[in-house]
Amino acid sequence: MPAASDLYQEQILDHYKHPKNKGPLPGATFSARDTNPLCGDEVAFHLKVDRSQRVSDVRFEGRGCAISQASASMLTTMLKGLPLSEAEALGDDALVKKLGISLSAVRLNCALLPLHVMRLAVREKKAAST
């Protein structure tokens, strides 16, 4: 029988209650905001990229459930210092693995919202500059 603690493991709750890299990022290279229309969860992602095309700083803002907000916080820790090309290529599986919990289809949408917004930020900027 599953317990509430299977989904709400210590590290998920820790990231939710004490999020890393949360807040605005003045001078961000890429920024985007999106919501999950099913539940209204909202995430904004900001990335700053240096001359060598590495992610030098990253922040998120948002409000929503523990899964989406913890996922956003954990994603920021995965991105910092990464070459932009690797950040862009980061797959769903990598984030889910980092979360370390098994998710139903509906809750998977919560978990992947931050990744979706991060990709959106990069894609929109690139589309605008071509």
Binding site: A4, L7, Y8, L13, G40, C65, A66, R107
Partner: protein, 415 residues
């Protein structure tokens, strides 16, 4: 909060009628508290639909043979049962649709968009409507130039009736309102709203999706022009909805669907229409759905809608006392059960409603979380989402106790 020794309805006997309530979820008893989304089905309803498919499946209104006559008799019998259930004068005032949503779209399209409305005419709705009673009217605004206005809700979850009086003018042609809010549970004074609408020459459209399953409805007493509700929220199958209309209102409504059944004569390039209500039922209808709905009406009529309402008032009062008094829990909507149906929206400090629903799910408890298809209402209260428990005939006070224990677990996780 003393528990009454005996409830008004015989809930153990009712529970035994619902096969799904015998199953376990994650090794626990299923505690189903999401009937405002859809109700569970008693075996009488399941048997009625199965019986149609296994004994007399045939299309209605056309076949000469015995099976077809039986199918037509049962389908039209369901229409008569629904008419009696809400006090309609004639079964011809009952249109079968696929949902409350389709019923409301039929009125917006057939009466508003293609019917009598002129550019600049006003449609008066409320902030607490379900999306299905917002968006169809947006179409009328966009395509006909109608003007939309809205009556606000007070912080206590009731409509601002003095604002209704201010907004209601000779320009108002349609007033549309939920009889019961799907989030707050508020029971709106629709009889009074319809009366005042008629005084300025407007028609009154009522979304009764959350009311018809839970309280006695008498369309003669309410005196609204249109009233929409769904089968699946009142123990019936999905895919069957109802639109009640006064004869003159239905006569003034254009059909939404052209096709078989809804015509009198068809020639190349033109057609004349069948009588009301058949002109609104183009295509083969949901025959099994209507027959199942008829069985659901029988089931509720047997329980007695006065008893159903009294039972839900008792559970709602108990839930307001028990859940509403937990520290860190906020409930929304009226606190007086005379003004409130069995719907309890709530939030828990520091826990998002989705997380609340996930943790309760582990306990075998089904509740809803999110915006409940009522985003304008959520914006009004500046809430991104709430949790919502809703009650029906198969729920008892113990279900509320299980919910209260689940809420304590949520609070432990997010302490």
């Amino acid at each position: 909060m003393a528990k009454p020794a005996k409830m008004l309805l015989n809930v153990p006997a009712i529970k035994a009628d619902f096969p799904i309530l015998q199953r376990k979820v994650r090794d626990r008893r299923l505690v189903y508290l999401d009937s405002a989304a859809t109700s569970q089905k008693p075996k009488q309803v399941i048997d009625a639909t199965t019986d149609f498919y296994s004994r007399y499946n045939a299309n209605v209104h056309r076949a000469i043979y015995e099976l077809g006559e039986e199918a037509t008799r049962e389908y039209e019998g369901a229409r008569e049962k629904v008419a009696a259930f809400i006090g309609a004068k004639s079964p011809n005032e009952i249109v079968f649709t696929k949902s409350t949503t389709e019923s409301l779209n039929l009125v917006a399209y057939g009466y508003g968009l293609k019917g009598k409305l002129q550019k600049g005419d006003e449609i008066l709705g409320t902030v607490m409507e379900h999306h299905s009673n917002h968006v169809p009217w947006h179409f009328v605004k966009d395509h006909k130039g109608a003007v939309l206005k809205y009556v606000d809700v007070s912080d206590d979850g009731t409509l601002k009736m003095e604002q209704y009086d201010e907004l209601l003018t000779k320009r108002t042609k349609i007033v549309t309102v939920a009889l019961c809010s799907n989030v707050l549970g508020t029971i709106n004074p629709v009889k009074e709203i319809a009366k005042r609408a008629h005084e300025v020459g407007a028609v009154c459209v009522v979304d009764a999706a959350q009311a018809a399953p839970h309280m006695p409805i008498d369309v003669q007493d309410l005196d609204a022009d249109f009233l929409a509700f769904s089968g699946h929220k009142m123990l019936g199958p999905t895919g069957i909805g109802i639109l009640h209309g006064k004869p003159e209102a239905l006569e003034a409504t254009e059909p939404l669907l052209g096709g078989g059944e809804m015509i009198r004569e068809v020639h190349l390039g033109r057609a004349s229409w069948n009588d009301v209500p058949y002109r609104f039922e183009g295509g083969t209808p949901n025959i099994a759905g209507a027959i199942g709905l008829g069985a659901a009406v029988d089931y509720l009529t047997n329980l007695g809608m006065e008893s159903v309402r009294a039972h839900e008032m008792e559970i709602t009062q108990y839930a307001l006392d028990k859940i509403g008094r937990i520290n860190g829990v906020t409930t929304y909507g009226p606190k007086d059960v005379k003004k409130k149906a069995g719907v309890l929206a709530f939030t828990i400090d520091n826990a998002h409603p989705h997380d609340v629903a996930s943790i309760l799910d582990v306990e075998g408890i089904c509740i809803r979380s999110g915006h409940h298809c009522a985003q304008p209402l959520m914006e009004r209260y500046d809430l991104p989402a709430t949790a919502r428990a809703s009650f029906y005939v198969y729920n008892d006070l113990e279900d509320v106790d299980v919910l209260a224990a689940g809420i304590k677990k949520v609070q432990e996780v997010f302490a």
